[in-house]
């Protein structure tokens, strides 16, 4: 057994062991399993949120974009800061409402606010449709990381199946407590690994950060600024705004809000998380350092840049540790996604179909669904296809369509009717699907438009269609509650 394999195996065993041990002393009803009994303090919520946010997308995709695209990658650093500044106001409102009504899933929130089971089913379907590609993405990432860090000794398919089985095991046993415990380990590891490689590589290969960026700029003039068209400033601004709107619409982030013990947790996190985000800066450094050290990675292979440059720079043991940290960036979000998807299907789809089901049955169904969802994702991950970022972007556009209906429901009562919310979300999703299938951009939709307009992120179109349909239906179906609100001061 090679040293890299030993290190990887050790990480794997520790992570799964922690995940299993997390159950101790807790009875696993649905509220415990999905939400940790709503008892998490600031630190656990912090690692859970950070754990979900820093996924294989950050680790592989962040460095891959810096390596392959340059300055447009910087958008990844922008949207988090903006979403966190909103979260200070948004999350406490969501938490208080969910806490008072003991809500379990994101769809529950829409069901309760709009008093509509049908809307809950729609939101659940959207959630599952977005979560599955996201899980596929984590598993694909896991396969890449393990096969690279083991120097090819473990094939991606073996890694994906082993990872899937382990995930299913600790998710079924411990639920979100398992995620939180492994997330704590992951945060320490990823912070250490990313800081070390992000600082070491530029100094080792170029003599410093400034020297590295100047060398990149000399080799690829204009790489460190945004181009005048395409991924231009207009593209960055529209993409950041869109992504910030979608950020907390992911069902697993939304549900992790429910795990908190008090709402002050979110205000603390809104202060800390932007700073913590700077981890991504060091991921960029690794990607930029790779440009001149391991040139020639094209297309989806750009996602390998961080691992390839690390293999060039370090020995077998450190590469094992980097791979182990990467493994955790796949397992932690993967476990949250699994829990959330299974909970949504059991709580909002199964229960809608079988209204007489008891809480015990729903909890059992949720856990029974974990292996099913995991197996579907593993099969999809093995069949290959799009690159890491493309998959994530489609899921992102799906969940972003929930944003208008959510915001309009945050007051004491929703401002629009359930039918309006339903119609808006449906129209938005259909548009996303059509745009994704046709690979359209605003440039192809409106070839005569001015350039700045063509550079807008095409996701804006779906959101606009959503809002227009929502408003049109809202005008003809104003809810009684809205009229009462309008009359009130």
């Amino acid at each position: 057994m090679s040293p890299a394999l030993i290190v990887l195996a050790a990480f794997f065993v520790v992570a799964v062991g922690l995940g299993l041990a997390a159950r101790r002393g807790h009875d696993m009803n649905l509220e415990q399993w999905t939400l940790g009994g709503r008892g998490f303090g600031a630190i656990l919520v912090f690692v859970l949120m950070a754990g979900e946010i820093y996924t294989t997308f950050t680790f592989l995709g962040g460095s891959g974009w810096a390596y392959g695209k340059g300055a447009p990658a910087f958008y990844i650093l922008c949207y988090g800061a903006i979403a966190y500044s909103f979260s200070y106001f948004l999350l406490p409102v969501i938490w208080r409402y969910a806490q008072a009504r003991r809500l379990v899933s994101q769809a529950d929130f829409f069901v309760a606010k709009y008093d509509s089971r049908a809307l809950g089913i729609l939101v659940s379907l959207v959630g599952v449709a977005a979560l599955v590609p996201y899980l596929v993405l984590q598993l694909k990432g896991l396969g890449i990381i393990v096969s690279e860090a083991s120097y090819g000794a473990i094939a991606p398919a073996t890694a994906i199946w082993t990872g899937t089985v382990a995930l299913v095991g600790y998710v079924v046993v411990s639920g979100v407590r398992g995620s939180a415990w492994t997330a704590a380990l992951k945060d320490v590891m990823i912070l250490a690994v990313v800081l070390v490689i992000g600082i070491y590589l530029p100094i080792h290969y170029y003599g410093g950060f400034g020297e590295m960026f100047r060398a990149v700029e000399r080799a690829k003039p204009g790489f460190l600024t945004l181009p005048a068209s395409g991924m231009s400033p207009v593209w960055v601004i529209s993409t950041v705004l869109l992504t910030a709107c979608g950020f907390y619409m992911w069902p697993q982030y939304f549900a992790s809000v429910y795990t908190a013990r008090t709402d002050d947790v979110f205000r603390k996190n809104a202060v800390l998380l932007p700073l913590y985000q700077l981890v991504i800066l060091f991921v960029f450094f690794a990607g930029f350092a790779a440009i001149l050290v391991v040139p020639g990675l094209q297309g989806a292979d750009a996602d390998l840049s961080l691992l390839r440059v690390s293999k060039q720079a370090f020995g077998v043991w450190p590469v094992g540790i980097i791979g182990g940290a990467g493994l955790l960036t796949a397992l932690v979000p993967g476990s949250m996604i699994l829990i959330t998807a299974a909970t949504i299907i059991a709580q909002n789809l199964y229960r809608a179909a079988v209204p007489a089901a008891t809480d015990r049955t729903v909890a059992r169904v949720a856990r029974g669904l974990v292996p099913v969802v995991a197996a579907v994702a593993a099969v999809l991950a093995l069949r290959g296809g799009e690159t890491v970022v493309a998959l994530l972007l489609m899921g992102y556009n799906f969940v972003t369509q929930l944003f208008p209906a959510l915001v309009l429901s945050l007051g004491a009562r929703p401002v629009v009717s359930a039918s309006a919310a339903f119609a808006g979300i449906t129209a938005g999703e259909v548009t996303v699907a059509m745009l994704t299938a046709s690979g359209a951009s605003i440039g192809t939709l409106m070839p005569a438009a001015p350039q700045f307009f063509k550079d807008l992120n095409v996701g804006i179109v779906a959101l606009l269609v959503n809002v227009v349909v929502l408003s049109a239906v809202a005008l003809v179906t104003r809810p009684r509650a809205a009229r009462e609100l309008a009359a009130a001061p």
């Binding site: 106001f89 460190l224 601004i237």
Partner: protein, 70 residues
């Protein structure tokens, strides 16, 4: 976005929370250059990093002021 529920008091300092969105994004077209390098970072990247740090500071100020009020 939305304001906190509960007794509505004037909390004008909360408008500070809009600064990251406005400052970071509105500045991007103007900050879109490499020179001058700051702390070794090309200017565009420095601009973004500075705003990310500023976001933490700004939200820290809002939180501190919020906690002073009952």
């Amino acid at each position: 976005m939305t304001s906190d529920a509960g007794p509505r008091r004037a909390r004008p300092y909360r408008a500070l929370a809009a600064l990251p969105t406005i400052g970071l994004l509105a500045g991007i077209p103007f900050a879109n250059r490499t020179e001058p390098y700051v702390f070794g970072l090309p200017f565009l990247l420095f601009w973004i990093v500075a705003w990310v740090v500023a976001t933490s500071v700004i939200m820290g100020i809002v939180w501190t002021l919020d906690r002073r009020r009952p």
